[in-house]
Every structure is written in C-alpha cells, then in structure tokens.
Symmetry: C3
Subunit: 256 residues, 3 copies
Amino acid sequence: MARAPHTLAMSSAAPIIVLFTDFGLEGPYTGQMKAVLRREAPASDIIDLFADAPAGDAKAGAYLLAAYAAWFPAGAIFLCVVDPGVGGARAPLIVEADGRRYVGPDNGLFEIVLRRAASARVKAIVWRPEQLSASFHGRDLFAPAAAALAQGTPLATRHHAALRHADWPDDLAEIVYIDHYGNALTGLRAKALPATARLSAGKARRIARAETFSAVPPGTAFWYENSNGLAEIAVNRGRASDALALAVGAPVAIER
Amino acid sequence: MARAPHTLAMSSAAPIIVLFTDFGLEGPYTGQMKAVLRREAPASDIIDLFADAPAGDAKAGAYLLAAYAAWFPAGAIFLCVVDPGVGGARAPLIVEADGRRYVGPDNGLFEIVLRRAASARVKAIVWRPEQLSASFHGRDLFAPAAAALAQGTPLATRHHAALRHADWPDDLAEIVYIDHYGNALTGLRAKALPATARLSAGKARRIARAETFSAVPPGTAFWYENSNGLAEIAVNRGRASDALALAVGAPVAIER
Amino acid sequence: MARAPHTLAMSSAAPIIVLFTDFGLEGPYTGQMKAVLRREAPASDIIDLFADAPAGDAKAGAYLLAAYAAWFPAGAIFLCVVDPGVGGARAPLIVEADGRRYVGPDNGLFEIVLRRAASARVKAIVWRPEQLSASFHGRDLFAPAAAALAQGTPLATRHHAALRHADWPDDLAEIVYIDHYGNALTGLRAKALPATARLSAGKARRIARAETFSAVPPGTAFWYENSNGLAEIAVNRGRASDALALAVGAPVAIER
C-alpha cells in the first residue's frame, strides 16, 4: 500500500473525472453535471475537488488548479468550469498536459498547468450538442466532452492555440483561496521560497515559516508548505482569515 | 453523443434517484438518507440536485422542483424532502407524473408538477417502518420508499387525493432561490413572458432581458432564461442578490 | 423492507466507509481523501456523515460521533478526522467497538464510543506511507488505513492504550452542533433525561419537551429526542440558534 505522499498512484480502472468549478456547494449545478457524467461515463469515478474555486476568477483558479491537479495520476480527467464568459466567444478547450487531460474554457484557467508542463497539447472542441443553453456549458458541453474522453468516444476537435497570459508570474504573490479553517492559500509554491522567507499579507507582518501547526504557540501566525505544495498562511488554533484580515486577491509581500 | 440540451436522455440502467431537499449541505441528514439508499437500491445512481431548497418553504420548492425535474428523463425517481410538518398529519406521497416518480410529503411540494403534467397519479404510502422517528421521515420512510420504487419492490400504498393549492399561480412572480453567484431565480417560466418584458424586484427597476451575461456591460442588471427555463435576475460580473437586495420571497413586478 | 428505525441493518456487500470530519464542505480535502478511498477500496460505498463537525473540537465531536455512529450497522468503518494536533505526537488509531471500526487521531474523539462500548480494542497504526505530509494525515495516513480495513489488507499496528478523558461526563450538557435549520444539538442523550426535564441554554429558559415540531405553536422553543437519540433544542418554524442565541459550546442547564 506504500505510495508517494504527494501524488495519487495510477489505477487500471476507467479514468477518474475530477471536478474543479466555482459552482458552489449549493444549488443544482454540480448535480446536473454529474447526472450527465453518470449517464455518459458510468464506469468513471467522479471526485469533487473544488466546487468553490474563487467565483469567476480564472487567474486565482489557474494557480489552485495547477497545484492540486499535480497530485492526481496521469490519466485523470479534470472537468474545469470557472467560466464567467459563458455564452460569449471564448473557445471550449481540451488540454493534455503531462498525461492529464483538462476540459474547460479558454480564459486562462489552464495557463499555469500549461506553463509548468513538460509536454502539452491544446485542442478546441468543435462538437456541439443539438441544443446548447446560453449559460450552462458545464452541463451541456464540457461534461459530455469530459465523458467522451473518459469513454474513449470520438469527439470533434481542432488544433487551437490557447490564449496565453505571459504577464502572469510563475508563482502568484496573492491569496488565491481561503479554506474552511480560515487558512489562506497563496499562489506561491513553497519550494520557490527560501525556508527563511518572511511573508506579509493583510495584518500579517513578516511571519516566519513553521513545519506544522503544533510547532508554534496557539494564536501565532506562520506560513508553511501545505499538503499540495503551496505556501499557506495559518494561525495555530485560530482563523488566519479573520485574525489577519485576509481575503482572496490580497497581495503577499515576500522578504527573502 | 448528440442530445437535446434541456433534457437528459434515458438510459437502460437502474433508475436514478434524484435528491431535492432543504437539509442543507451541512450535517448528517443527506448522508444518513444516502446510507439507506445505497443499501436498499445499490444499483441506482444518486444525484444531489438541491440540498438547499428554501428551508420549510413548500411553495417556493414547488416551482423550483417543477422547473428542474423536467430536465431529467422519464423513469427518474425524485426523493423530495421539504417537510416542516414532519411528525404531524400530512400524508407521505408517491406521485407519478409524465413518467417521473416523486416521493415526499403532501404539503404542496408537488402542486406545480401535478399542474403541468399531461398525466399523473397520486398515492399515499401506507407502509411504515417498524419504528419511525418523529422528525426524520426522509431517512426512515421516504428513502426506503424511493428505494422500493427503484428496485421494483412492492410497497403498500392506497389511492389518495393530494391536497391541491388552486390559488397558487401557474407561474410565481417571486424570487424562489438565490444561487451561489447571487443570481435570483424567479418562479416564472421565461417562455411565459414576452421577450420585451421588464422586471422589477428589490432595487431592480424595469430591467430588460438579455441572452447571456456577456451581452451586457459589467455591473448591469438583466434577466434571462436560465438553463432550466426560469426567468433569472442577474448582474454581469456582480452579485444580483447583494446589488439589488433580493431574497427568497421577494415579489417580482412584470411590465409586459 | 421492514427495519428498525434507529439503526441501519447490515448488508453483505463490502463494508461502507463513513466520513466524519471537520474539513467543511468547501475546498479540496474531502475530495482528495475520497480519491484515495476510491482507488484503494473501490468496492466500498462512501457515506458523508459529517464534514462539518465542530472545527478542531475533539470533545464536541466525541459526543456527536457516538450518537450518530450507533445508527450504522456492525462492520461499518468510520474515517474520523478532527485532528488539530496533526503533525504533532498524537498517535493514529484504529478502534474496534461493538463491531464497528474507527480510524482517526488519539485526541479524545473516540472517548465516548469507547465509554459506551460493551467491548472494544484499540490499536495504534504503525504503518506509514512512503512520504507523509505534515498537515493532511486524513489523506495520507488515515484514508489508506481505512481502505486497508475495508479491503482486509494487512496493516502494521501495535497494541496501544488510548488517552482517556475520565473527566468528560457520560452525557455532555453543552451544545455540540448547530444544524442547517438552526436547531441546537446537545451532548445529552434524551433517554438520560426525564420526560419532564426543562432545559435552559442561551436565552432559552426552562423549555419543555415536545414530541415533534408540530406539537407546539409556531415560534415556540422546545426540546425533543432527535432521530439519533440526542436532546435537541428547536423552535417550531424558527431558527433556535438565532432566536435563542445558541452556539457550539454553550452550557445547558437541566432542571429535572
């Protein structure tokens, strides 16, 4: 049962389909998308990774997705719907990067996955359903496309050059997600920072790195490498987001 | 893979069981209900449609349910628990309407499904579990009944005339749901409104229809036909519920 | 289909794995843990019982877990992650109590399950994954251990005496959970209280027991035996937590 800790090993079963959306937990969106997946790719397990990626924020999502997708094995299919431009002109994409496949809109959401990939291919989905709602391509277009990949069903595509965002940094010095505990995830890979780096964000001033929560006294702010490799700001036994006034988009200053 | 966009096509597998409740995402309620379903109807897929239907509000729920159930194929079984009268005298129902089946309390939740059905049958569930909690019929009564339908297991029922709500309109000019993005769903089918209709609700004054979010400038309020056919009030790149002070139950004025 | 109401009967299938965590509904934690379970114990159903146990609060969790686990059949495996001491010295445990198995940290979370068990065995998990993140043992250690139990795969363990909390009462006179409806669950088993007991908590003063919501007028506060046997404070058609200013940890006074 031994396995590497920061990646999930491959399995011989049908590809898993991993959901990465800003739909929220509430409401009918994820359920309708899963109804399509269950019908069209019944052998695939569906994993809810993020249903609460920052709403409409493809840039923050791009750094989150790259960090969390890397934990999954080659073969995994990511159904990624952060799509504020739905109904407009943005292309629907299939991205293949380092053996993982991604389905979603051409709005920058895959920028960091592409940037870090040793090899990648991008295609636009030409296939359209008989009818297509104006506002829910996750259900009507992206989910059937992801199911087709999972099933090995042919799907009409064409070569496509994704819109690239060369001005986005390799590591983003901003808060990209606040979790249930109030911990603030940055868009910075911990390995891109020296262990002695100090971070400032919100009311946090020059906080130091610690290995784990219990290494600092209760109430103390620190940063650490989270279980998916991102630098994360936390307070032992407290809520960093409240105590330090942190929110998605807040800039992070790095003192190396 | 071509399919109509606003309905899910049939499959030959065991019937899917679709959950429509006001349990919330939190807590142990949905999990316990699913434990019953998994044990008693193991071949059926379970789809979480709404876990956050307006709490205790059978009327708002009736319009939501009718709009969202119509997307699912004939054969689907809806386990519907918005049940503020649990433990009182209301009957537990099985409704068959246009080939879909519904299980839940006789409190108006199925009024609009029945109203719009070309053909319908209503039965009361006579079967009772050996013991029945006073407050969680979703787990103890409705879930086993839905599983029996899915499995084709006999279940004791009797003919029953559902309580009808003739005073409820065919389309409800109220907000019935606020989604994760702050969009406000009305109980009005878009096709019941002229394309030139203007809607007023909360601070929204005479807003016009648009086809899609990107058709209006950021910050602009509009209404559109959502992916399940309801008229929905939104703000491009904004939260309509906050910007326009909209909440479930708020009346909607229509200028035709 | 008859079955006892307050327990789920056994099935011959692979053991179910029941999740009891404080991860919250949001974010990537439950999803990553399920990805491990799906890969390593593909035949087991996974049931989300609580994802929102009080954050970092092993004591409140202990009373919740004992009440809700008792509903599940012998053979069920509970993957329990309320683990504020992750990365510190606390041992990872497997607890077998009355035929159910529990995996989680040695921090008191299993105290009440152990206290109430007719028979119990506790072991520490010696097995470690090749690499282990400092902050997410739910994914890296506890989930693979639970999957090994489900699959019958050998797992290195040793005898271990759990840290016991003899000062914790058999029934806890505090609010341990606020549910989606605003109902306040206490750590008191209803059967440990006389039917004539009156409870005071927050602004609730000497409230009486009722059998069910509809037995009291709208707006009235009462307590009742919930569907898992706990005394619960509620307001008919209202939110007790708001109306009575109740929160997790609030003391409950009992007048017998």
